[in-house]
């Protein structure tokens, strides 16, 4: 039984969000999608800041919004904590009073609320910053105060909107590890909204990926990383992705091009995915069995970690990762014609 059980339907002009989503107690679900996919709209409807057009939101068996049935419960009467993207710490209150704000508004006596707040600040390692105003805090500290403030009301549902987006790379790494620990301790449901696949893969038990207001893929991190189902997801996890018709080991990707895959027994529409590092480049047609090889033209070259990522056009568009040494040896440059090859065993095919 899910703690959060929602079907969010929101019409905004020509855009429609249609998102069924459930989160169990103690579970962390990441809602991942490109800008404009409807992530923020989803968060706002769950928090009660935006009404649903249709569908429902139920949290801990309490109906919060169901347009067909009743008026939405206002945000202040939902058991939901939100960590906003830019935190929105109240600038006129100290870190302690920011965290105590929620308990105070929920009727806890001042001294008790402050004691609770001090406890939460201690848990996020900021006991010494209790009296600091938000503008005196670093980005990472502000993020932790925002988390403490959201958790201090002990919400059934914790919503995090791009919680690490405002941080620099180094702080992000530390804060992500700490956030992971706090999310693991949170007994309620957690919904994390992000466009960063790394945040989603590291922090969430399960991923829900939306594009244009609809769910395009959902599952655990391993499955999504291995078997992307849209170009957006493939780009997120760094794979070449194609769709074609399978006939045993052959998958026809276009009228003129087919690829041999390791899996057998496939039929009908399938996806084929392989990593850029699985693509080898040759100056002339390679010989050897079990290789898929095709003539390609180099469209672009970018640095990608320790490798060069080569964008190829030809019968299929593909990305290939080669070492700088290999690139120099092959005289790779935009416009040059090469042969690309992928071993059947390094491809992965799965039903569409």
């Amino acid at each position: 039984m899910n703690l959060l059980d929602a079907h969010l339907i929101v019409d905004r002009g020509t855009f429609r969000l249609d998102l069924p989503i459930g989160v169990a107690a103690g579970e962390v679900v990441a809602l991942l999608g490109p800008n404009g996919a409807g992530k923020t709209t989803a968060l706002r409807t769950l928090a009660g800041l935006l009404p649903l057009t249709a569908g429902h939101v139920r949290l801990a068996d309490r109906v919060l919004d169901e347009p067909s049935n009743r008026a939405p419960v206002p945000p202040e009467r939902r058991s939901i904590g939100v960590v906003f993207q830019d935190y929105l710490l109240f600038p006129h209150l100290s870190a302690l009073d920011n965290v105590a704000f929620g308990p105070r508004r929920r009727g806890v006596h001042r001294s008790a609320a402050r004691a609770q707040a001090a406890d939460w600040l201690g848990r996020v390692g900021l006991a010494e910053q209790a009296r600091a105003k938000p503008r005196q805090l670093s980005g990472g500290q502000a993020q932790r105060v925002a988390l403490a403030r959201a958790l201090a009301v002990q919400p059934d549902l914790l919503l995090l909107d791009e919680p690490l987006a405002a941080l620099d790379a180094r702080t992000r790494l530390e804060t992500r590890a700490e956030l992971q620990r706090h999310l693991a301790e949170h007994p309620g449901a957690t919904l994390l909204i992000t466009h960063d696949p790394l945040d989603a893969l590291m922090l969430a038990d399960r991923l829900v990926i939306i594009e244009d207001g609809r769910v395009v893929q959902e599952g655990d991190a391993g499955t999504i990383a291995a078997e992307p189902r849209t170009d957006y997801v493939a780009r997120l996890v760094g794979l070449n992705l194609y769709r074609g018709q399978a006939d045993e080991h052959r998958v026809r990707l276009s009228d003129a091009f087919a690829i041999t895959v390791g899996e057998g027994g496939l039929a009908g529409d399938v996806f084929v995915a392989f990593a850029p590092s699985a693509v080898a480049l040759f100056p002339t047609e390679p010989s050897g069995s079990m290789r898929n090889a095709w003539p390609a033209v180099i469209a672009g070259i970018q640095r990608h970690g320790d490798y060069l990522r080569i964008q190829l056009t030809g019968p299929i568009a593909a990305a290939a990762d080669v070492t700088p040494a290999a690139a120099a040896h092959l005289h790779l440059e935009p416009g040059r014609e090469v042969w690309a090859a992928v071993k059947a065993a390094e491809t992965r095919a799965y039903p569409a």
Binding site: A47, L88, F90, G102, R105, R106
Partner: protein, 257 residues
């Protein structure tokens, strides 16, 4: 160093002279020799006290009524909001004397509201100290409303959303989040309102009359003195100038910066 563009510099200097010279005129023409004995004349201090009290009361009234109006205009979508905003600013463009006449028509003994106040409570507003406060608040409140509405629009409404997710209802989030965020704007608006109320003349003399000790504020006393004794008018003006500038400067140091 970059040169100042003359088309900006010249009008700025001329404008400054235009604003400052009249004040200099007051200082130069003041009867410095007889100043001490003139200042302690009984009528003068009464008028000053009345001016300060009425302007302060009018500011309090404007705060109590005007801040909620500003909140409505800035935060609540309702039909006719543009019309309400236009109505609120009418006292700004209305000649104060016309405002005074309008107040008489409403709060006068036979006015729309005054009639009932008179019948039910035997309470008359015009030509009383209360009338001075009413006239000043009528003229000065729009300044406060405009300043506070501007501050509210400038304040990020998402802080109120954050407060709502933490369990604060609209009133609670207004008191604990919105008001502290716009406090500098409210203070600036109150100072502006107070200064306007202190200098109010037209609506006051029309609606409240010119009774020494009851409705004769400093601007009225200045005007009356002008008819008989120019030196007395200059002394009164100087006193009003010094008191208001002192109060504004001390408030600025305390609130605005």
């Amino acid at each position: 160093m970059r040169r100042f563009p003359l088309p900006l510099l010249v009008p700025a200097v001329v404008g400054l002279a235009f604003l400052v010279l009249p004040l200099l005129g007051l200082l130069v023409n003041a009867p410095w020799g007889t100043l001490p004995e003139r200042l302690v004349e009984p009528g003068i201090l009464d008028a000053l006290r009345l001016s300060l009290e009425c302007a302060t009361l009018a500011t309090v009234v404007s705060l109590v009524l005007g801040v909620p109006i500003a909140w409505l205009l800035a935060r609540v979508e309702f039909p006719g909001r543009r019309l309400v905003r236009a109505l609120v600013t009418v006292p700004l463009v209305l000649p104060p004397v016309v405002g005074g006449v309008a107040l008489l028509l409403v709060f006068g003994r036979f006015g729309l509201v005054g009639k009932y106040l008179d019948q039910a409570f035997g309470f008359t507003v015009p030509f009383t100290t209360t009338g001075v406060v009413v006239a000043e608040a009528f003229v000065a409140m729009p300044f406060l409303i405009i300043a506070v509405e501007g501050a509210l629009r400038g304040a990020d409404a998402r802080y109120e959303e954050a407060a709502a997710t933490l369990g604060a209802g609209r009133w609670s989030s207004f008191v604990h989040v919105t008001l502290p965020l716009v406090a500098p704007g409210v203070a600036a608006g109150a100072v502006l309102c107070w200064a306007r109320a202190l200098g109010e003349f037209g609506a006051t003399i029309t609606f409240a009359g010119n009774y020494p000790g009851r409705t004769q504020t400093m601007p009225l006393a200045v005007y009356l003195a002008l008819e008989t004794d120019l030196d007395a008018a200059v002394v009164l003006s100087l006193l009003l100038l010094v008191v208001s500038v002192t109060i504004l400067v001390s408030l600025r140091d305390k609130w605005i910066s």
